[in-house]
């Protein structure tokens, strides 16, 4: 039986986030391409191997620097307000219990990796999310917080110089802003890949809210692209959903 899995607030904030993050990343990369480097003029920067190499234009949004800046400075409010609504809901409604790290999560993550790499036959037992998902969904709000704070730091390096100084000054704050974006993009890309490769049923569940536990990756013993592998006899029967 399909059961309610995602509250409508989680579903709405999730999809608003999709739009906001795509536009923030695209416009951010367009802004970055105006000066695709971190070094202060007359200096070198230690820690970015692609100094002065622009990112591909197809990743950018906003058309030109001013257009991208206007999008970035408008969408940032959507991202922040949406993020606060989500975090407030998760806190007040108790969903945070499904996301906070717990004892055994590292062991469980290791077991998930073993399962995905065929070194373990049966899917580890899990709650709403597996241990790797939990780690991802727990990390993302922090990456978002870092992106927002470093963003403010490079928006107002004089008026809020204490914040900029906290991140090591303007050059470093800009670098951490970029790193936060990379973390968000990598985790999001893996997330989307795993949705299609392992748990496609979670996609409609993020729209309708309903999810049938009998179709969960655990019940189906699903690895990435499990349906492309030849079928073999299952080592143990899947546990009956109660």
């Amino acid at each position: 039986m399909a059961k309610k899995r995602h509250h409508w607030i989680v579903r709405v904030t999730h999809w608003v986030n999709v739009v906001a993050i795509i536009i923030m990343v695209g416009s951010g990369l367009q802004i970055f391409n105006a000066y695709p480097a971190f070094a202060r003029k007359g200096e070198l920067f230690c820690c970015y191997p692609f100094e002065h190499k622009p990112v591909p234009a197809w990743l950018t949004f906003g058309g030109w620097l001013a257009g991208a800046r206007n999008w970035h400075f408008a969408m940032m409010w959507v991202l922040v307000v949406n993020g606060l609504i989500y975090l407030a809901f998760v806190y007040l409604h108790g969903e945070w219990r499904d996301l906070v790290p717990r004892k055994g999560d590292i062991r469980d993550s290791w077991q998930m990796l073993k399962f995905y790499t065929f070194r373990r036959k049966d899917h580890p037992h899990q709650g709403k999310h597996n241990a790797l998902q939990k780690a991802t969904y727990f990390t993302l709000p922090f990456a978002g917080l870092l992106a927002v704070l470093t963003g403010i730091a490079i928006w107002k390096p004089v008026q809020l110089s204490w914040l900029t100084a906290l991140f090591g000054g303007y050059v470093w704050a800009r670098y951490w802003h970029f790193i936060a974006m990379v973390v968000i993009v990598v985790l999001s890309v893996v997330h989307v890949f795993m949705v299609f490769a392992v748990d496609p049923y979670s996609l409609p569940s993020m729209i309708t809210g309903n999810y049938d536990e009998k179709l969960s990756p655990e019940a189906r013993n699903a690895r990435p692209f499990y349906h492309l592998f030849p079928r073999r006899a299952r080592p143990t029967p899947p546990p009956e959903a109660t």
Binding site: Y35, K41, G42, G62, A66, K156, V158, Y170, P204, T208
Partner: protein, 247 residues
Amino acid sequence: MTEPRKFLTIGGIDRREFLAIGGGVFSAAFLAACDSSGPKSAEKLLRYAERKNLGVERALFRHTAIDKVQAGAHDAGNKLPSYFVSPTVPVWDETARGKWALEVSGLVGKPMRLSLDDLQRLPRVSNRVNHYCVEGWTAVETWTGVPFTELAKLVGALPDAHYVDFQSFDDDYHESWDIESAMHPQTVVAYGLDGKMLEPAHGAPARVYSPIKLGYKNTKYLTKIVFLPKMNGGYWSDRGYEWYGGV
């Protein structure tokens, strides 16, 4: 035991419908992203956001917030890029236009024309500060000139002068500022850069310079400073960059 339909239907949507809808949504998003500058209907919303941001930024602004150069930062020296909008470096042509002078006018008690010598006789400061470019780079330089506050005092700026327009001989380049930013202690009318007289590449004979505004707000090749009751846009501000441009 297992009904195959179960795997095909989710929440009343079957797999084909789902793929069709999902595919549509994704291609729409992709097309929107590829039409580089986004939907035209968003223009209004973006301008609304800019107005709201302007309010936030002006509320955040403090004269006590001073730009400081980080310890160990190197001067940009000749790595400071040179920007102008004319086809070639604007140079004041004395034979055609007469001796250069800075006109200070508008809502002031005593409008004035100040020669470069006049400017150099006024109180002088040298500020080693950051240059924040809208492109994202910064550069450390030392700017020498007259604090804007001294100039405002000299001409007797009137209380209803809420804005200042900095105009130039670099084609029609100008940028108008809010008076609070102009009166910031680090805003100068600069004629010196790194201990030398300003060169044409960086705005000679004089330019406005402040670390509290993005580079494009700091008009080079100054001809006029006009105190105004209303904002007067600017070269880049009228072409899509935010008018405030404060950091």
